[in-house]
């Protein structure tokens, strides 16, 4: 089985964000793998361990942003890793999906996994749009993917924690929310070996498809609120104070 994992680099939330015009000031940002994509990769590796096949990791972005995460993917067990494009402006979901679809389309993967969303877009569209471009069926908010006969048993999560199992046949695109197991740790020495082995491939950014439909016109940091109020006193006094606050707010 041939599995593709679509990965995105997102700004590292450890750094303090600063805004420059309509976007984050990207000069001072560090980039890390989108957490959901990390789960997609983990699920792909688990499937490969169970039923064999190959895993190829794809990531859009410049070397600075994605090289490390692709080397990490190889160190964890991916067979190939591919960098798409370089020195590009941030893309919206349609452009990302188009870039992925154009790059992976000719390979005819059995299964394409990606994170259900990325922390810098929160739209959850990339996997879906890529599926549409590829003409593959798609399922989102996936919390478990297990081999099942000649297909997969996919668990999807609904509102309120309700889950449902689906049987999915190949090919398919899945938007992964969580893998069955927490993403594995890979030793730094192994990442370094992957780096030294130089197996990273790169392709040019394909012609962008639906570019330019969404434009950011302004970006703001959250307003700094007033400091939290510590409620002092024993349970009785504290409860009374809480009631007062809630009454004043018109909640009770």
């Amino acid at each position: 089985m041939k599995i593709a994992v679509l990965m995105r680099a997102v700004p590292d939330p450890v750094e303090e964000f600063e805004i420059d015009g309509e976007d984050l000031d990207r000069d001072y940002l560090g980039f890390v793998l989108n957490e959901f994509d990390d789960h997609a990769l983990e699920e792909a590796l688990l499937l490969k361990e169970e039923i064999g096949g190959t895993v190829t990791a794809y990531a859009i972005g410049s070397a600075d942003e994605v090289e490390q995460m692709l080397h990490t993917a190889i160190a964890k067990g991916a067979d190939e890793a591919m960098m798409i494009g370089e020195d590009i402006d941030p893309l919206d979901a349609h452009s990302q999906a188009a870039a992925f679809a154009e790059t992976i389309g000719p390979v005819a993967y059995d299964l394409v996994l990606s994170g259900v969303q990325a922390s810098d877009e929160l739209e959850g569209q990339v996997a879906m749009l890529a599926a549409a471009s590829l003409g593959y069926p798609h399922m989102s908010v996936v919390v478990s993917v297990k081999p099942d006969g000649d297909g997969l048993k996919v668990t999807k999560e609904y509102w309120g924690g309700i889950t449902a199992d689906y049987r999915v046949s190949f090919p398919a695109v899945l938007g992964v929310q969580t893998a069955r197991e927490a993403p594995r740790y890979v030793a730094v020495a192994r990442i370094k070996q992957a780096q030294d082995s130089g197996t990273l491939a790169s392709v040019d950014m394909p012609e962008r498809g639906n570019e330019g439909r969404i434009h950011i016109t302004a970006m703001r940091l959250p307003d700094t609120g007033e400091g939290a109020e510590m409620i002092e006193g024993d349970e009785e006094a504290a409860a009374e104070k809480v009631y007062e606050i809630l009454s004043a707010a018109g909640v009770v």
Binding site: E16, V32, Y185, A187, V188, A189, R190, K192
Partner: protein, 697 residues
Amino acid sequence: MLASLFPDAAEAGRETFLGFSGWAIAIFYLLAAVAIGVFLWGWYRRIRKYSRGRPTARLSAKRLVRAVGDLASNRTIAKRNRVVGVAHFFVFWGFIVLLIGTTIIAIDEDIVGVLLNKPEWQFWHGTFYIVYSFVLDVFGIGFIVGLITLGMIRRKKPARLDYARVDGVESDRRGYALGDKAFLLILLTIAITGFLLEGFRIAATNYPDFEIVSIGGWFIAWLTTPLGEAGNNTARLITWWIHGAAALAFIAYLPYSKGMHIIDDAADLAFAEQRSAAVLAGVEDPASPGYKSLEDFTWKDLLDLDSCTKCGRCHEVCPARATGSPLSPRDLILDLREHADAKAGINLWYGPGATPRHADAAEVAGVVIAGDTLWACTTCMACMEVCPVGIEHIPTIVQLRRRLVDLGEIEPGLQTAFQSLARGGNSFGKSSKQRARWTKGLDFKLKDARKEPVDYLWFVGDHASFDPRATEVSQAVARLMTEAGVDFGILYDGEKNSGNDVRRAGEEGLFEMLRDQNAEAFETADYQRMFTTDPHSLNTLRGEYPTDEDVLHYTALLDEFVTSGTLEVGGLTGKATYHDPCYLGRYQDEYDAPRRLIAATGLEVVEMGRCRENSFCCGAGGGRIWMDDSGLDERPAENRIREAVALGEDVKFFVVSCPKDMIMYSDAVKTTGNEGSIEVVDIAQLVERAMEVVPVG
């Protein structure tokens, strides 16, 4: 001289096979040959096992000299256990002298007398015989006294000799306990029958006057007089065979029992390196780090396993064991030994219901030794410090952890910490730009050692930079150094976690990365010397960094300023106890500067039972600070606070000199409900308080 004392001295001597038929002598030599054969086969297998270990250079004059002293004095056994030490000293020297005595007879009788057939060269008679008899009797009595003392200590069933496992794995170790008894009893049998034999012989040979120097035998002979000459002679023959059989059985039994410690432990001490935990060996093959299987163990590691006498001292001092984790250093070593023996085809009996020894396990980490057990170690080094025979537990644990890290089988908290460290150089998941944020609480600015030259570069350390409980101490240190007129600076965001604990948690690649990043930052700075607030960083900076950094702990610097009068302190009253951080004390051998500082503030230092080399770990080391402690019965820090509180109500301060201690213990005073009774305070904070009360000028 002796001839004038003893008229019979000219004929002094004895016949080894007095009254034996040729057949009896032949049977004895046949049995002796069998015993020696079994002995040699046992040792051949053991030595073959060690020789399969990876090479490690351990032969040095320094180690040999130290080992000779350790062995001759038995000081490593007497350490913190005087009675056992003295008793073992008696057994040790008794054994050696009796062994030499037996060897002398063998040389005189078998080599000179039989093989060379030169009766005129035989020397075991006359004056030599009289001196020999006296010396052997004296040491023989000491031998028996020592054995009986050790047996009695064993009968009291001290907790350290309880072989029950701590990890809940079903096991049967009755074989171990039986072996201990057998070993003592067989030695005691040899010794006692030796004296009986001597007594019967003296009585049966009409009390030659020179035999009075055989004080033990003479006494027995006096007791057995009523048996008459014939009776004594019969008793002598019977005892001779019991004595001979016991001695031969002992020889044969040696390499299959704890008797092997007689040879293994002398060797293990001679090759032991106490610094092997402080300066860990690197990874030889990055493609396969750590110990995957027994083939990766060095010969010293394998020798360590056989050297364990199960004395239980490591078991007793281990903070992981004391607080209900699945790790006991003793069990770790014994499990590995049983595994190594099984792999070498040496199948000993451990008890009727003993569990399988993983004879066909290809992996050690996670299979022979469970992952949880390996992660439980705080690398406090109490086990290695207390081990009387030079076993190096921690390097082996780290090698096994390296394998687990390579497999990705790591504790979740550790994984988060490693990922943060790889990203930002700190375990707090913070941006490195925030590293020097704590300096904003000062009313002066610290120099950036990368931008301007300084005398001292201060390596602050992770916890001292990020944890609010520890940054207060960092601020106190900054104020004190400024007050003392020290020209110092820090590296701001150029400093990364030193990697000491990362390395001990088995992530060698990450350690190398952090070390290189720091070393690069050191290159860009202009400084003369370095000091650090963190004992863990002190350890790795001193021994594991490429540059031979001259690093001081801040307490050493403060001690210098207080002693010289640069900082004037005094005026505090009351009592305080001091906790030796593992990495400052056991690892770096610094015990006195902190105590001098506390005393200088005016406080009286009251020692806890476990102090200095025997200090009890706070539970944070070796990466444990990042791991989950909720499975423990009690956190090590809580155990320690209870010990301090038990010193009495008048001990008001629990003084620390390590940022991790500040964090662990300020938590533990709360969780043990001792917030009102004892205050956790860093030495720097104490010194600051003691300066405030000193009238200025």
